[in-house]
Amino acid sequence: MSAARYDAIVVGAGAGGGVTAAILAEAGKRVLLLERGQDLTFTAIGRDHLRNQRLSQYGNNAGPDLDGHPRVAVDADGRERLVRPHEGGYQNNAAIVGGGTRVYGAQAWRFLPDDFRMATVYGVPTGSSLADWPLDYAELASHYERAEWELGVAGDGAASADLLPRERDYPMPPLPPTAQSRVLRRGADALGWATTPVPLLINSEPRDGRAACIRCQHCVGFACPVEAKNGTHNTLIPRALATGNCDLVTGATAARVATDRVGRAIGVDYFDRDETPQEVRAEVVILAAGAVETARLLLNSATTREPTGLGNGGDQVGRHLQGHAYTGVNARFAEPIYDGLGPGVSIATLRFNHGNDGIIGGGMLADEFILLPIIFQKRYLPPNLPRWGAVNKAFMREAYRYVTDVKGPTQEIPHPDGRVTLDPTVRDRWGLPVARFSGATHPETVRTATFLQDRAREWLDAAGAIQTWSTPPRPRLAAGQHQAGTCRMGDDPRTSVVDRWCRVHGHDNLFIADGSPHVTNGGVNPVLTILALAYRTAEGILRAW
């Protein structure tokens, strides 16, 4: 029996994979889109407050399954820990059609121009691998715009136009402000800080045959009940399928990229939902499995010609792993700041992303999503509050509608020892070596995070907080939903894995379309950059075809 043949195989139906599949299929290419997760319904994803992408106390709502997919986390003292998908240290992202976009908070930030030239702006801190991207903001701007319009972003482009120049405003106006954002606006105004409504991949008005946001309380971490949250599962992937040129296969776990005798990618070997090995062949292979699994796949695809993994001649695959150090401050107000209007996150400042005296980079600060009550109990209690009893209960009752936090993603300073490797002994259910994490973030990340935490407190104080509390930032490995950097983009194969078109060095038909190529990961949520880069990569593939 000969293997099935396609023009292109895309591994991973998340943000980047969804875009790539659609653009290639619409250009007439026969595309196979492989997804290890399922295409779950809203009901199947559910609203379990203990098993979701925001709090995975006992499980996940969007994959992967808890059994058969372990990883290994190595802490700063070299201790190894076997972790399951819902446990801390696993660095999970959703495994489902749409990937993270199915259950995300949908913040739709562009990276700022200086995010693409961190080394030029700040120099290279000792021990770090801080570097410029081989492309700049202007080169990505039209692709950002395409993502904003084709998926659908609600926002106010004018509010950030000085920092994020744009040709065209967002396709939809922002959602109306919440009580929380009005209070924070007051604080920012008092400080003279510019703010912007948070741009969201959420319909603020009916669009594209789908409803407007109903302002429900289960946004981040859950699926949208009215499909007002725009992911690839309800935009690009349906477009790909509508062409008739794309086959979506779920429950399909890629095992390796198959290569021929001269090292050229010829297809993908995968296990189907019945755990039967399958081989498919194609002219082009695009990996979009996320920064952890894409790196693992390249490493697991080693050949006699490339014994340390595909594209790994420079020993770069899996290095520079980064996400975001999240830091913030919790605050209690004298007035209720909760009005129950989801998604919750509404106001942000980009004032501290760059230009902070003596600090490398920075990050965006924003208000909070609506907090699930159990998350509030687990993570938002002031330090001296009793953990049980009448006083604890009274605090829950009296404070829930009066407490919020300001926080944001600190731009991480990458270094080569924050990494994904293959564990030498632990195997997954198919017998493949699993991802092993080691290294904490660079000390400069912690210094930047500490600076941002002080700014968050300043903002909350100015807004009238009567009490604030926080825990100091610590060095840790943060990958998870914002995972990036493991197949860094660059012109030199000795210091990077893919070129400026996200093509794996030395493999002219093997591409990457997720966060892996990000040289740095910005000080904002990375999904719009993953989407924009995927548009650019797909267009580049077609041009060269």
Partner: protein, 134 residues
């Protein structure tokens, strides 16, 4: 699943009601924390059932030794004082650690979604003002 003895169950009920005491709003047991735990012992928390039984027996024994009565029969102020002692390690690391675990489980039952078996009729959510609309 095994089940608790009547004494262990009475102790659990008393402890849960000190973690989340009844006031103008239901206490932990009335709101279904026990039901949440029963369901969890048949699933995610099954491996901890034996630890629960041991913990409940241990604090009941301490109550009898120090106060001459079962934990569940003590005045609530005495129960609170004993749990504060346990929390602060006065009766050993193991009991302190397990009490912290029990607190987190009780909170999950009370403030989690009713679909998990606790927070009956969303009483905890109504108390704090978390409303599900849409």
């Amino acid at each position: 699943m095994s089940s608790f003895t009547a004494t262990q169950e009475a102790t659990l009920r008393a402890v849960v009601d000190r973690i989340i005491p009844p006031d103008d709003h239901p206490g932990g047991w009335e709101a279904g924390v026990g039901n949440y735990l029963t369901r969890q012992f048949a699933g995610d928390l099954a491996p901890l059932f034996g630890d629960y039984a041991n913990f409940l027996a241990a604090i009941d024994a301490i109550a009898r030794r120090l106060h001459g009565a079962p934990f569940a029969a003590l005045p609530t102020a005495t129960q609170d004082a004993l749990l504060v002692q346990i929390e602060s390690d006065a009766h050993g690391d193991d009991l302190a650690r397990f009490f912290a675990v029990l607190v987190t489980h009780a909170m999950e039952g009370y403030y989690g979604d009713p679909g998990n078996g606790g927070n009956r009729d969303a009483v905890a959510w109504r108390m704090i003002g978390f409303e599900v609309r849409g």
